[in-house]
């Protein structure tokens, strides 16, 4: 009788272990997990781009030497580094192909706009070009920010259920 109870306990313990193991393995993972540090990095880069163009538009006038590329070369490089870093980080994350592409498109667009400003040497930009370049860069950054933030969609429900089960 004592042996039978012991066997029953052993079987129940075994079932619990198997169940716990299966539970941890049975989580659906379709996209990379939300990363708060990356989200902050995206919003910082977005703010830097907005500041860059808004200041250019506010502090210089069309056709003036102050708006020439050479005065902005350093700021272009700083933002290029920020965008390249975001691309590098995102390309190494698993299940992150879509966001990886968004980062690549954004970096390419930044390089295109830098070349536009540079022209054939030390070029300049018209007001409408600054406005549109800012519009398009911020639209890409918005898509990038959303692509990180939406990874939390529905997470609260899952988290609540998890807490109840544990």
């Amino acid at each position: 009788m004592h042996k039978l109870i012991q066997q029953k306990r052993l079987l129940a313990a075994l079932l619990l272990i198997v169940n716990a193991l299966s539970f941890s393995a049975c989580k659906v993972q379709l996209i990379s997990a939300y990363d708060d540090a990356i989200h902050t990095q995206i919003t910082t880069a977005s703010k830097d781009i907005d500041t860059f163009y808004t200041q250019m538009l506010a502090t210089t006038t069309q056709g003036s030497t102050a708006r020439q590329y050479s005065n902005y070369a350093s700021a272009y490089a700083t933002i290029e580094v920020e965008l390249r870093q975001l691309y590098t980080i995102n390309s190494t994350r698993a299940k992150n192909a879509q966001q990886d592409t968004i980062c690549k498109l954004t970096l390419n667009q930044w390089l295109k706009y830098e070349a536009m400003h540079k022209g054939t040497g030390n070029g300049t930009l018209m007001d409408f070009q600054i406005t549109l370049n800012r519009d398009f860069m911020l639209a890409k950054m918005q898509a990038m920010e959303v692509s990180e933030r939406v990874k939390m969609l529905g997470a609260s429900q899952t988290a609540t259920t998890n807490t109840t089960n544990q």
Binding site: R9, L15, T101, A139, A143
Partner: protein, 107 residues
């Protein structure tokens, strides 16, 4: 306690519905913000074209940028759909494992 498959399936369905219903308004708000962004861009492009400041080649170049912007927005929307599907599937699985846990005899 036994394992009631019908009740479990119903709860799983409820969890999926709840996840999708809660996420839907957020998804709509995000898409609306993309639409607003695109409207602003097109308005700025129209202003520059009508005033004669933008050449045909420049317009073509910005239209190419519009294409890649739409591509980025659609990719973000794809991530959004995957996030909701993932949360819904996990919510359903949580219900299933809770039911299995409850059905296992206690020591």
């Amino acid at each position: 306690m036994g394992f009631d498959i019908s009740a479990t399936l119903q709860s799983m369905e409820g969890a999926v519905k709840n996840t999708v219903t809660t996420a839907w308004p957020q998804a709509q708000a995000i898409w609306a913000s993309f639409e607003q962004t695109n409207k602003n861009i097109l308005a700025d492009m129209a202003t520059a074209t009508i005033s004669g400041q933008m050449s045909k080649a420049e317009l073509q170049s910005y239209l190419d940028d519009m294409k890649t912007t739409l591509q980025a927005q659609l990719l973000a929307t794809e991530i959004m759909a995957l996030a909701v599907a993932q949360a819904a599937a996990n919510a359903a699985l949580d219900i299933f494992w809770a039911a299995v846990n409850a059905a296992i005899p206690t020591i």
